[in-house]
């Protein structure tokens, strides 16, 4: 990347790191909690969520910041989270994860309820990981509590198409979720 920072000039490099630090501090202050929260719910693991969030902020280039930083970060969080979910699925870690979720659920009056909830979480994650990314993205954003306008901005689509995309995504989700329940 063309910048004095990487060209070996120590003063340029310091100035670059300082500017980079200021930009990062602002972006992290405004959006770190939001990105971590999206990822934590999606992945069910705070440490992994923070690792993925770090990667997202690392990729932020202060020389060419996205026009709508919040929308960009929401989209990046959902995409990176979905990717991490697929990686989890590849490693066949869902079964192990069930045990961890049960432990996280804590003082269960009826352990059977918590096992059932853990299984439901696993099924939801499996369905999201298997769905077309475009559909999974809109479901996650909607269930993060975003309005149609905010979803449209995050996905770069027109607000009037959000209803259509959401209806399609829910139909696809319902179909796969039913298949998961039956399998």
């Amino acid at each position: 990347m063309a910048d004095t920072a990487e060209s070996g000039n120590p003063e340029g490099r310091m100035a670059h790191l300082e500017k980079r630090g200021e930009f990062l501090a602002r972006a992290l202050h405004d959006h770190w909690a939001m990105v971590c929260r999206i990822l934590a719910h999606l992945l069910g693991d705070g440490d992994e969520a923070q690792d993925v969030a770090l990667e997202i902020f690392r990729r932020l280039d202060h020389r060419r910041p996205p026009e709508h930083l919040q929308a960009y970060l929401r989209r990046a969080a959902v995409n990176a989270g979905l990717n991490a979910l697929r990686a989890q699925q590849r490693r066949r870690r869902y079964e192990q994860e069930a045990g961890r979720i049960v432990l996280q659920a804590g003082c269960a009056a009826d352990p059977a309820i918590h096992v059932e909830r853990a299984e439901q979480v696993i099924q939801v994650r499996r369905v999201l990981a298997a769905m077309r990314p475009r559909s999974a993205r809109i479901l996650i954003l909607r269930h993060t509590g975003l309005s149609y306008d905010e979803i449209a901005r995050a996905l770069g689509v027109s607000p009037s198409s959000v209803g259509t995309l959401l209806a399609r995504a829910e139909a696809a989700f319902a179909k796969r979720y039913r298949a998961e329940e039956e399998s």
Partner: protein, 372 residues
Amino acid sequence: MTPHVPDGDLRAMMDGALEPSREREAAAHVEACHRCSARASRIAARAQRTTEAMGALTATEPALTMGTGAAAEVILREERNMEHYHPVRRPALVSAVIVVAMGLLLAIPPVRTLAGQFLSLFRVQTLAVVEMESAAIPSAAEIEAFIPELDRIFEDDVTMTMEGHSRAVSPEEATAHAGYDVRLPSGDAPTALRLSPLVRLSLTIDLERIRGLVRELGYDSGALPETLDGQVVEVTVYPMVTAEYGACGPEGEGDGCITFAQMPAPDVYVPDELDLEELGGVYLQMLGMSARSARELAERTDWFTTLMLPMPQGSVLGVETVTVDGIEGVLIQPGVTYSPEEYLILWVRDGMTYALRGYGDPTPALMLMATL
């Protein structure tokens, strides 16, 4: 009667997200129309089921312990450790790297998209060999001519971050630090085992420079789309574990020396603007195909899964399919211009890429892999 209400409007109506006038019109229609009313009920039921299921994700709050200060510190520390990449000044190697790198860019995985709308993740899944016409191989003079330009590209447009350095490890350390389950033959212990670090490369495309480079090599640069300019290509090369068996020299050479390497397929993030079929055609033309044949093969090729390995015609003793590690691999025996007896076996299994290198008869190496 007004036209039927589309699914999207029915769904938006449930969330109160329609324009007031449109909502009144749609609601009046649904009330009078059995078909739309039934559809609205089905859509509402699906939305309800989805909301309930997705609600399970937010039922627990995983602990988040890292604050913004710590996050900034981690990212900036990593950037302070950033190292420069210096290209190796070996013309044949440089040319091979460029051709293979283009192939890597064209090896696409099926469904994964990442990091925003503008980036896609590409991943090698299978290997294919394509013969490269001798005339298509740039001459030594042509390669020498573009090295200064290549240097400038690497200096200005490419950054590389390495997490640590290559080092000797025990089998236990290899698995602990590689980030994946390291597979080694169960028979003989390796005479040497090394772990290379994770490497991140980031290339900001300067279209004029890349076009100049392609022209310098004697190829048509017109097919590289304008939209590529300024885009960022990111490559993550995961830690590689290299095991040596037998008596090996410092470069893994020597009769009876077998080198076995493994690493996850690299992640390559490229701009969505890339027209892969078109680029695949350019790549095949670079390998010496006529424009028409290149276009036909590019259309037939599943660029989503295939890494094309270019093999210069006439300089190859043999390229054949072999069974290794329970699947099909590619056995390449380069010709007299390099090491006459050297062979290379490549295969991809479960997202991991494996390479086996040795000298002479590959049978002992294949037997070694039978105990993997």
